[in-house]
């Protein structure tokens, strides 16, 4: 009886799909593209991480060999330490400056000004990140760079240095790119969160005589916790996987002072013909990201979801 019920149910699902075939046909290309360009490469990378593979002809199963090498490779701990620094810095930046900017825009009394500033913060997003990195690279140039020129002009020439060539400061110079870090998606996400707070609630807070700080800390912040959670996840993923800024600005140097796992993966895959090893680094990064995302979802509470 149970199996007959199950069959009927299955038939029901298939019939439903058949009845709505146009809808399914319309979303089919998206599914196919996702499978081809997102899921297949990811699973292929996990599979190939167990092989010694040059990306062309040579392929040999080596079990956990790549993962064992990964733990012996001196560049790996160094690059992960750099990623840890970058991640902490990115989290601190994304959880403060854009939040402050969004809060200030939200509380502007004049709506036209609020709109103006919102547009102002969005405009820089149109510029490709690559261009921004290249511009900052020239800002940091040791001889003709804007930063050193400025320091020399205002009598602080002793502070001028090859910012991206300083073994102790290069990573922080990369972090500083984009200062004051207010233009971008994070500001917009926070702003959307603020705009979702019911005006009645804010009016009630005002009538109760709460200070600006109390209102922000006790009312607004808990209500945008969903956005904060999203920013945390996006920042974690971006910081752990990303390497374009490093590649463009320092290429991991000076020495290995700014090397990150993403760039090391890329070099192994593209330059050293060690595709299998690169896949193992990728798989390791995937495991870290999925663990951190789980922890974030599990332990960072979303706060109150207001229902109108």
């Amino acid at each position: 009886m149970n199996s007959m019920k199950g069959n009927n149910k299955e038939k029901g699902i298939f019939r439903e799909i058949l009845n709505r075939r146009e809808c399914y046909l319309l979303i089919l290309p998206t599914f196919l593209l996702l499978l081809t360009f997102n899921y297949y490469p990811a699973f292929s990378a996990i599979y190939h991480s167990f092989f010694e593979w040059d990306g062309a002809n040579f392929i040999r199963f080596i079990g956990f060999g790549n993962f064992i090498n990964l733990f012996k490779d001196p560049t790996i701990p160094l690059s992960f330490l750099n990623t840890l620094r970058l991640t902490i810095a990115s989290l601190l930046i994304n959880l403060t400056f854009p939040l402050l900017a969004a809060s200030l825009i939200f509380h502007l009394k004049n709506l036209r000004y609020a709109y103006f500033y919102r547009v102002l913060f969005v405009i820089p997003m149109v510029v490709p990140a690559m261009v921004i990195f290249m511009i900052w690279r020239f800002i940091y140039s040791p001889t003709t760079g804007l930063l050193n020129q400025l320091l020399r002009t205002i009598g602080l020439g002793h502070l001028a240095r090859p910012w991206l060539g300083d073994f102790d400061l290069a990573l922080y110079a990369v972090i500083f790119v984009g200062f004051p870090w207010v233009a971008g998606t994070s500001t917009l996400i926070y702003l959307a969160g603020f705009q979702n707070i019911p005006i009645e609630l804010l009016d009630a807070v005002a009538i109760d005589g709460a200070s600006t700080w109390t209102r922000f800390w006790r009312i607004e912040l808990p209500l945008i916790m969903g956005q904060i959670k999203l920013i945390v996840i996006l920042t974690l993923i971006g910081s752990i996987q990303g390497f374009v800024n490093i590649m463009v600005m320092t290429n991991g140097g000076p020495g290995e002072a700014t090397m990150v796992p993403g760039l090391y993966l890329y070099r192994n895959a593209m330059y050293y013909n060690k595709m299998g090893y690169a896949c193992a680094i990728g798989t390791f990064l995937f495991l870290i990201i999925i663990t951190l995302t789980y922890l974030n979802l599990r332990y960072l509470k979303s706060g109150v979801e207001y229902q109108a």
């Binding site: 140039s141 040791p142 001889t143 290429n251 020495g255």
Partner: protein, 489 residues
């Protein structure tokens, strides 16, 4: 229902149109497409930001060729300013590359086993129909030029058709102002730089930055220095009794298999006093380089020189035309094509001239992708290559660019201003020892440059540097032996 039928009709119609366009039915379906990545010879229109004319002559050749072969369509892939190697690896792996790709001839030894490129030896032994009376295509080239594309299996995988040279570009006005003249030996070279530095200028513009600087200037410096400092030891490294003379045929003296053997035997080691001497000389010289040279963007090297901030820059024949036309230059300039000699007084291993920092294969070093055969256009691709390598086509093509001398036997009509580089190369030969760029692994080279950067920036001392390099060198030699077991025989 009618609405649905109409929608279906439109979809079918669109599908049919796209199918027609894709298969090019009625739009010259018979044409065979040959795509070429011509690197710096890629033709393009002048942009507002250009300070000199870009090359265009490929378009002339394309038109002439297509007139002769209306069934062939030659297409040029736009120039890729950065990340070319990554692009190439991806294209090759996916078998989607253009039929003709630019390729560093030295990397053939590393990549020929991957099956990416067509073995050109049989085609080179056939006549080139575009050269009158030619019986074998290979005969139109100067032998060292075409032989430079030979892989360790003895086959030629590259068509190399030009000669490139480097030299020290200097600011004549600044030299006059400071009261110095072109030095002829190393100690004078350093004195000149000392005076220029005292006058408030950057003496020598150079970059050891990891995004292109150290790969170029680090490589040049170490190659010429090693050739001189190891001169007395060349025969021992090669494992022969007779002296190893300089030639200008790349890889002739110490090919990868010889270097690997020498490293394993210990006749060539980073712990050698000659290696340490090289590092000492470089470190000493680096006091005259721009501040923070290990983080200086490579483009800045030329800019510092052309804007009059730096006195000298080690550039190449490819900059001949730009320097002539660059509106940023406001001074008289000259070239001394060789770095001044290191004498015995400067170093116990000195005493001979540096080799010419020149070589075969600059812009004209192309390989043909194996995918050309699968796409059924190999015959047309080879024919196009024969057409553009014919001297009557190659020479105007290279003249139009202005930075490379032809590598053909017939050089009639070649730009005379480039003769200085070729003469230097023929007279002094090129470096015999090239353990870095193309002889060992890319991983080794990357690690070497990172270490050199740290050493020159004062972060590690000479012992640490040579210990680490030696470790990396042995690792690379082991890897190459595993990939080429026949080398251990």
């Amino acid at each position: 229902m009618n609405y649905k039928r109409e929608v279906c009709k439109v979809i079918w119609l669109l599908l049919l149109i796209s199918l027609l366009l894709n298969t090019q039915l009625g739009f010259g379906a018979e044409k065979k497409v040959v795509k070429m990545y011509a690197q710096a010879l890629t033709p393009r229109e002048r942009l507002e930001a250009d300070r000199w004319d870009p090359p265009k002559y490929m378009w002339t050749l394309e038109k002439e060729y297509e007139k002769l072969h209306p069934d062939v369509d030659i297409q040029f892939v736009p120039e890729i300013p950065t990340g070319y190697e990554e692009w190439l690896v991806t294209q090759m792996t996916g078998a989607t590359s253009p039929e003709i790709v630019w390729y560093q001839r030295g990397y053939i030894a590393r990549d020929y086993k991957k099956g990416w490129f067509v073995n050109l030896t049989p085609y080179l032994n056939e006549p080139n129909p575009y050269v009158k009376g030619n019986k074998k295509w290979i005969d139109i080239f100067q032998p060292p030029v075409i032989a430079s594309g030979t892989a360790p299996d003895g086959n030629i995988y590259m068509i190399t058709g030009d000669i490139v040279g480097t030299g020290v570009f200097y600011n004549k006005d600044m030299f006059k102002k400071v009261g110095v003249s072109v030095p002829s030996i190393w100690s004078q070279f350093l004195t000149v730089q000392k005076k220029i530095k005292a006058a408030g200028y950057i003496p020598f513009s150079i970059s050891m930055d990891l995004s292109g600087g150290v790969q170029l200037w680090g490589s040049w410096c170490t190659r010429i220095l090693q050739d001189v400092l190891y001169d007395h030891k060349m025969s021992e490294i090669k494992g022969v009794k007779e002296p190893v003379k300089r030639t200008w045929k790349p890889g002739e003296n110490l090919p990868p298999q010889v270097m690997v053997k020498a490293i394993k035997k210990g006749t060539y080691s980073a712990k050698d006093p000659e290696w340490k001497e090289m590092l000492r000389i470089l470190k000493d010289w680096s006091q005259y380089w721009p501040e923070g040279f290990w983080a200086l963007p490579p483009d800045e090297v030329y800019r510092l020189w052309v804007t009059g901030k730096a006195s000298m820059a080690w550039l190449g024949s490819w900059m001949n035309k730009p320097v002539r036309f660059d509106p940023l230059r406001k001074f008289e300039w000259g070239i001394f094509p060789k770095i001044p000699r290191i004498t015995k007084e400067t170093s116990p291993y000195g005493g001979i001239d540096f080799p010419a920092m020149a070589g075969v294969g600059g812009v004209f070093q192309y390989a043909i992708a194996s995918s050309a055969e699968k796409r059924g256009v190999l015959k047309e691709t080879i024919d196009w290559m024969r057409f553009i390598t014919a001297p009557q086509n190659l020479i105007p093509l290279l003249n139009d660019h202005g930075g490379f001398a032809p590598g053909t036997k017939d050089t009639k009509g070649a730009d005379p201003s480039l003769k200085v580089y070729v003469d230097q190369m023929v007279k002094y030969g090129t470096e015999r020892i090239e353990p870095f760029d193309s002889m060992l692994t890319r991983e080794f080279v990357d690690n070497l440059w990172k270490l050199l950067q740290q050493f020159l920036a004062g972060k590690i001392d000479i012992e640490k540097m040579t210990d680490e390099v030696q470790k990396e060198m042995v690792k690379a030699a082991d890897q190459l032996l595993a990939e080429h077991p026949e080398w251990s025989k």
